[in-house]
Amino acid sequence: MKSDQGVLGIFTYLDTVTDAVKELKNNGYEQLKVFSPFPNHEIEDVMEESPSPVRYFTLFGGLLGATCGFGFTVLTAMSWPIPVSAKPVVSIIPFMVIVFELTILFGALSTLIGLLINSFVRKRAPITLYDPRFSDDKFGIMVVCPEDKIKNVESILKSRGAEEVKFDTVEY
């Protein structure tokens, strides 16, 4: 288990947050987390994260649903064939309704699984520092750094407008 220091800066203004992130990145700090009460594109742009892999979960779930829907209807129809008036036992058109519904169902459920795995389980570094005001009206930046860099991070955060700075140990 690795142990580092976490430094949290609390901000009121969005532009000061994005400026602080840029400066921290320029100084080589990559382990950053930015908190905000709502999703924001400016934060997204400055963090330069790669696109969310949730989309693969959606695609996989949708394809799995379509396959299951198709397989299920066809195989159950064939397991006990009841021919009616020379109509086909495997009748694709009505089965498409089930295929469609299961595509959506599996797609949505696997999107949910993708969301839970990516945002709550695969967190990279744990969030040990949090302030309840982040869900209300404040922004925050949490930096994970070695112990000897704390002062440097604190001075960057304060110089960029952090109103408060907190510290804690991060184990991950």
Binding site: Y13, L14, D15, T16, K33, V34, F35, S36, P37, F38, P39, N40, E42, I43, E44, M47, E49, P51, S52, V54, R55, T58, G62, F72, T73, T76, A77, S79, W80, S91, P94, F95, V97, I98, F100, E101, L102, I104, L105, G107, A108, L109, T111, L112, G114, L115, N118, S119, F120, K123, R124, I127, Y130, R133, F134, S135, D136, D137, M142, G161
Partner: protein, 445 residues
């Protein structure tokens, strides 16, 4: 919501206003809730009486064996639709007027589907065997008939309930976290902490959340169109005059959104007044909804006209006989009530003056709710009571058991809604904040 951009809302104010709604229920809330519970009880007593006595007490008589229960089923599935329209389709179109009302309409979707789901079971002679509708492995390798529209319905409605519940819950996670961070009382804090799933609002969470939300919306959009299409095929697939029509799917979907929007207006007007949410649910929101009602109402009116024209144009005496029967037969007052409520009543909404008058909107929304219930009743029972053979024609009358269960179903819906507005954030905190001007030290350019 555009008014909000000009006034002086702060982020804190938004959080506090929404959290304030979750305070201890007042006597007014109890005054609404207790009678609601009473009606749910009446509905349950009627249902158990019907189970004990048999379906004969439901007023089913030859030739009408689909009556008020199926009407209620279609009505409630329809009500659900506008919730998904507002939360998913308008999200994809980035329509800002949805922001303050989408949570309420999404809740309405979930509760309306929960209500709708009761009726196919109530309608069964042996209700305890309802699980026969689902495919499950059994010793005899018997499977359900996937060619039956009723089985499509099972899949469509249960998928719809699952997906809309997931969409509803996921949409609420950041807001539940905001409530968690505000409340202090211990049992509530623990409940909201568990429900928020450890949400912290980091950019990492928002990144995945925004993507997932987009995909939920993208999946819910075709789903909502498919659900009422499938419901309409319950009828359109059968060779019954008045049912066997290719326009049924779009006709039902438009009608569903039309009635659902009316229900959103009916629910949000008192909600806005009671919780003093005039700054959030503004007249702009109602203006947007009224325009959508006009649009979908236009499609409904057009469908009525097409149905009549086609029944005459096909030259089928049975089709025209059905249309003539609807207009002049024993159920004619119901038909003309439907025409008045769905075609004539929304006409004032063409004028801005009436779209911005809250009383007019409320009355029109109530009329549309009534009209759309009658539309389903007309389609279902009138068609069955007047099929091909004159010797097999008959009249269906609603029994007191059916009336009790119907009243109970409305109460069941409102019971969930009343619990919802006191326990979960009824206005989206995060989305409202998203459209407020962002605080910047350098000022907003």
């Amino acid at each position: 919501m555009s008014q909000n951009e000009n006034n002086s809302f702060t982020y804190s104010q938004v959080t506090n206003d929404v959290v304030r709604m979750l305070e201890k229920p007042t006597y007014k809330w109890w005054a609404l809730f207790l009678p609601t519970l009473g009606f749910v009880g009446i509905g349950m007593v009627c249902f158990f009486y019907q189970v004990y006595t048999g379906l004969g007490v439901a007023g089913y008589r030859h030739p009408v064996f689909w009556g008020v229960y199926i009407t209620n089923f279609v009505f409630w599935v329809g009500i659900a639709h506008s919730g998904t329209l507002i939360s998913a389709i308008l999200y994809l179109f980035r329509a800002r007027f949805r922001m303050s009302i989408y949570r309420v309409s999404e809740a309405m979707t979930v509760f309306a589907v929960l209500t709708a789901g009761l009726f196919p079971i109530i309608h069964l002679g042996r209700a305890w065997n309802f699980y026969w509708l689902f495919p499950y492995p059994n010793q005899r390798e018997l499977w359900i008939n996937f060619k039956s529209p009723l089985v499509w319905d099972v899949f469509a409605v249960s998928t719809y309930l699952t997906v809309s519940s997931v969409f509803f819950f996921v949409g609420m996670i950041p807001d539940i976290a905001a409530v968690r961070d505000k409340v202090t009382a211990v049992p509530r804090k623990i409940i909201y902490t568990i429900l928020s799933l450890g949400w912290k609002g980091s950019h990492w969470e928002w990144l995945h959340y925004s993507r997932a939300y987009l995909y939920f919306a993208a999946l819910a959009t075709p789903l909502v169109l498919s659900v009422h299409s499938v419901v309409s095929w319950d009828f359109a697939m059968a060779n019954v005059p008045g049912w066997h029509s290719t326009i049924f799917a779009p006709y039902f979907v438009a009608g569903a959104i039309f009635s659902g929007l009316a229900m959103v207006i009916t629910l949000t007007i008192p909600l806005r007044k009671i919780f003093r949410l005039e700054n959030y649910i503004t007249m702009d929101n109602y203006d947007g909804m009224a325009k959508l009602i006009l649009f979908t109402g236009g499609i409904v009116t057009y469908s009525y006209a097409t149905e009549i024209l086609l029944s005459w144009y096909t030259g089928s005496p049975f089709e025209w006989g059905q249309t003539y029967y609807r207009m002049t037969g024993p159920y004619a007052p119901l038909f003309w009530t439907m025409i008045f409520c769905n075609v004539v009543a929304p006409i004032p909404l063409w004028f801005k003056k009436y779209r911005s008058n809250i009383k007019v909107l409320f009355i029109i929304s109530l009329l549309i709710n009534i009209g759309m219930w009658f539309e389903r009743f007309n389609i279902i029972t009138m068609s069955l009571s007047h099929e091909f053979e004159p010797g097999a024609w008959g009249i269906y009358k609603i029994s007191w058991v059916e009336a009790g269960i119907t009243a109970g179903s409305f109460a069941w819906f409102f019971m969930f809604f009343l619990i919802f507005i006191k326990t979960l954030p009824a206005v989206s905190i995060a989305e409202i904040k998203e459209i407020l001007p962002v605080p910047k030290k350098g000022g907003n350019k």
